[in-house]
């Protein structure tokens, strides 16, 4: 069957404004959106640019806006959409477009660095002869956060990052911080919590739950953020008591 993809095109270096191109490709309902993008690039328009790598939803390269919602092109199949009409493919919102579907991810990785304390907590001690003990229950407190593949879909879905506060540290960064804060082995928890309390930190989150809705790995992102907020409040209360 023939599927129509309406794709956002923009080269800021040469184009005055973005526009859309419509491509028609032969595809099966079970094919990935990514497969269609490649077919277009290989047989119709080699100037189309997008990112890809693993093609099965684990490397996080191909986060896009598909029919208005953040998603991975390799994880969504044609049949997941109404393919009688056009499927609209745009870059992730919030980020600056550098070419077509490719966005500048520098702000994303900078935010990940921002939530990391400067001083390394653990030393690679060659004298280590045993693991630290961690119960199954303790380990389960941050299991959900380990699913994160750093695709940035949550930033493209969050009304705070997109519309309200460009400098908000963002869902994935809080999630990564939460992974360490709730890890019983972590020794610099206070430092990490302090970083999150700064302006544009964890309190920027207004619980829209849209990160949770779009997360390709089904992570309960908002819940993880709420747990982190609770932890901060709890720490403050214990300190003042």
């Amino acid at each position: 069957m023939i599927v129509a993809l309406k794709i956002y095109r923009f080269n800021p270096k040469t184009d005055k404004a973005p526009h859309f191109d419509i491509f028609k490709v032969e595809a099966e309902p079970n094919e990935r959106i990514l497969d269609c993008l490649n077919k277009i690039r290989w047989t119709q328009d080699s100037s189309l640019s997008f990112r890809m790598s693993c093609a099965h939803g684990i490397c996080g390269s191909d986060g896009l806006t598909i029919n208005g919602q953040s998603a991975l092109a390799c994880q969504k199949l044609i049949k997941d959409y109404n393919y009688q009409g056009e499927i609209v493919i745009e870059p992730l919102k919030y980020f600056e477009v550098v070419k077509d579907l490719i966005v500048d991810l520098k702000p994303f990785f900078e935010r990940l660095k921002l939530i990391t304390p400067k001083k390394p907590q653990n030393k690679t001690n060659t004298e280590i002869k045993k693991e630290r003990i961690q119960s199954i229950k303790e380990r389960s407190l941050f299991d959900d956060a380990l699913k994160c593949i750093l695709c940035g879909c949550c930033y493209g879905a969050c009304p705070v990052t997109v519309e309200q506060d460009q400098d908000f540290v963002g869902p994935a960064a809080v999630l990564r911080a939460q992974r360490y804060i709730f890890d019983s082995r972590t020794t610099d928890e206070t430092e990490r919590l302090n970083i999150l309390q700064k302006p544009h930190g964890v309190w920027g989150c207004k619980s829209y739950y849209l990160c949770t809705v779009v997360c390709p790995k089904n992570i309960k992102v908002t819940e993880a953020i709420l747990r982190t907020k609770k932890k901060i409040i709890h720490e403050k209360q214990t300190k003042t008591q």
Partner: protein, 575 residues
């Protein structure tokens, strides 16, 4: 643009990041250069686990692990290297745990371990629980931890830089040259030490578990620099790729109780490996699956078999195999607790690579001469601990143990080494290459040639091979080599030009494919993953030796490096 660092690591997967983290000490400036954002490296796709004889679940020791690895390699692994790997593995796991890797735990709160293919207790008696794991996202979890640590240690990352060639000045490696994928501008890396950590080559084949980035670039960079490639005929086909997609279903699925069934519903692995059954090493299981299919026992007469996980229960699937459960749901619309998964072998791993010693130094020839300032680690290297067939979970531990050893030798050696002078006009070499491709006016299309290559390799040089077809394939690859000189690029832009990058990658893929086929044609025996239907037996008298292939002006040239005698003498391989 010229960047100067003490050490430049090309490739940011687990091997590259381990080397980076180890070498970032005593003011040693380390940079990691990657053609993707480093967190996209294919190490993140590793699922099932990382092998070490911790003995947390049952008695285990490094000698059993060593024996399994050597036997799994069909006795082609270098046993001194395997000894190092298996001896150092437990402490490296503890080090990873202290770095923050969130290993799954057992009821005692220790690192949990599970069974994996070819790993046994007491020299082959029965499967053993040796694989440490983070549910079925072990690679992702290790990568994330190493990446966070590298961020803290201020390792410099150059993302989305495509390296085109290594730079040498009077036989000293002085850096690497490439371009920024975003802009097409030349970037020259000037350094005292270069580490190749570029990963695998699965994309040379039509069906693969590997990502789009696994195009064998590192192998080709080494060949072009007149370095040899070792044992390239040994390419692993993982038995259980999702049919039609090639996406990996971890061996952990069988370790947790999954079984393979043919079209008649029979648990056929019992006939091929009576003791280990579905947990036999990958070469054996892949051959068994294809034998069943060739005998007409595929499911519905098609070219796949079923992986039956219905006996595992929802809880095991959710807790221990959540990623693969979701892959199967996403791509096939199947609930594995209710319906068996259609699977077929998929190209997975290169056992061969740039020969190195156990300290990570690249080796120049069969005498073992070391190249100063040049190192290789991970899948693109061959130390050789995997010989003719790698055991599951041994790749991740290889990355950690030998990534670290390379990092340590760099620390010892790098400060004594000067910055060798850069070749003149390194930048214009890069620009000329890009411009000549952009201006190419040929008639061949990149995706057509690539598809030809992938089909050819899958049909003629995968699980089963024979001399006649290999000879023909070699000739067809020669033709592709000519055709690729006559390609046409329709995209002339320098901004994120994917066609340009794919042109460079295609050149590399063809070069590396030629070495695979050439090495396979020359080895007239069957060993591990290399099965020749015209020479179906292993021949230890003739072939207990490593293949070395060089690129010369007159074409490829082979030589052989004998194996040193080791602790375990070659025996018939039964499971």
């Amino acid at each position: 643009m010229i960047h100067q660092h003490d050490v430049v690591i090309i490739g940011g997967g687990i091997a590259g990041l381990t080397a980076a983290l180890t070498a970032t000490k005593n003011n040693c400036q380390v940079a990691v250069v990657s053609k993707v954002h480093v967190t996209r490296s294919h190490s993140v796709a590793a699922q099932g686990g990382i092998a070490a004889s911790l003995g947390n679940q049952e008695e285990d020791n490094w000698e059993w692990h060593m024996y399994d690895t050597v036997k799994g390699s069909d006795y082609l692994a270098d046993q001194n290297a395997v000894e190092i790997l298996t001896k150092e593995a437990p402490n490296e796991i503890y080090t990873l745990e202290h770095l923050g890797v969130p290993f799954s735990r057992n009821p005692q709160g220790k690192i949990d371990q599970r069974k994996f293919g070819g790993h046994t207790k007491n020299y082959g008696e029965a499967p053993i629980k040796r694989a440490c794991y983070v549910s079925d996202r072990t690679g992702r979890a290790i990568m994330d931890t190493l990446f966070d640590q590298c961020q803290q240690q201020n390792v410099t990352f150059y993302n989305e830089i495509y390296i085109q060639q290594l730079l040498f000045e009077s036989n000293l490696c002085c850096g690497a040259a490439g371009y920024d994928i975003a802009t097409g501008t030349a970037h020259i890396f000037h350094c005292r030490a270069v580490v190749l950590a570029t990963g695998g080559l699965g994309r040379i084949y039509k069906t693969t578990s590997n990502g789009f980035a696994s195009t064998g670039d590192g192998f080709a960079l080494a060949l072009e620099a007149s370095l040899p490639l070792e044992d390239m005929e040994f390419v692993q086909f993982h038995p259980t790729g999702i049919y039609g997609f090639g996406i990996l279903i971890s061996e952990a699925a069988r370790a947790e109780g999954g079984v393979l069934r043919n079209g008649l519903g029979e648990r056929f692995m019992e006939h091929y490996a009576p003791t280990l059954k579905d947990l036999a090493p990958r070469d054996i299981v892949s051959r068994a699956i294809l034998k069943e299919i060739n005998e007409g026992k595929g499911v519905d007469g098609k070219d796949y078999v079923n992986l039956d996980l219905r006996g595992l229960g929802k809880e095991v699937l959710d807790q221990k195999l959540p990623e693969i459960t979701s892959f199967v749901k996403t791509y096939l619309g199947i609930d594995p607790s209710q319906t068996p998964i259609p699977v077929a072998p998929t190209c997975h791993y290169a056992m061969g690579g740039i020969p190195t010693d156990v300290e990570g130094h690249a080796i120049a020839d069969i005498t073992g001469a070391v190249l100063p300032g040049f190192y290789a680690v991970g899948e693109c290297a061959c130390v050789s601990v995997h010989g003719a067939n790698r055991l599951g979970c041994n790749s991740l531990i290889d990355l950690i143990v030998f990534g670290k050893r390379a990092g340590l030798s760099i620390l010892r050696e790098v400060k004594e080494r000067i910055f060798p002078p850069l070749p003149e006009q390194a930048e214009s070499i890069v620009e000329d290459k890009i411009n000549s491709l952009l201006e190419s006016k040929g008639t061949e299309r990149i995706h057509v040639l690539r598809e030809n290559l992938q089909c050819l390799m899958t049909q003629q040089c995968s699980v089963f091979r024979n001399g006649k077809n290999l000879q023909q394939t070699l000739e067809q690859i020669q033709e592709l080599k000519h055709k690729v000189q006559n390609i046409c690029l329709t995209n002339k832009s320098k901004t994120f030009n994917m066609e340009l990058q794919e042109a460079f990658e295609l050149h590399n893929m063809i070069k590396v494919a030629e070495v695979i086929v050439f090495s396979a044609l020359k080895r007239r025996e069957s060993r591990g993953a290399h099965f020749r239907s015209d020479y179906p037996d292993r021949d230890d008298e003739q072939w207990l030796k490593h293949t070395f292939v060089h690129q010369t002006p007159n074409g490829l040239k082979e030589s052989y490096r004998p194996l040193l005698p080791g602790r375990f003498a070659a025996q018939k391989r039964r499971y």
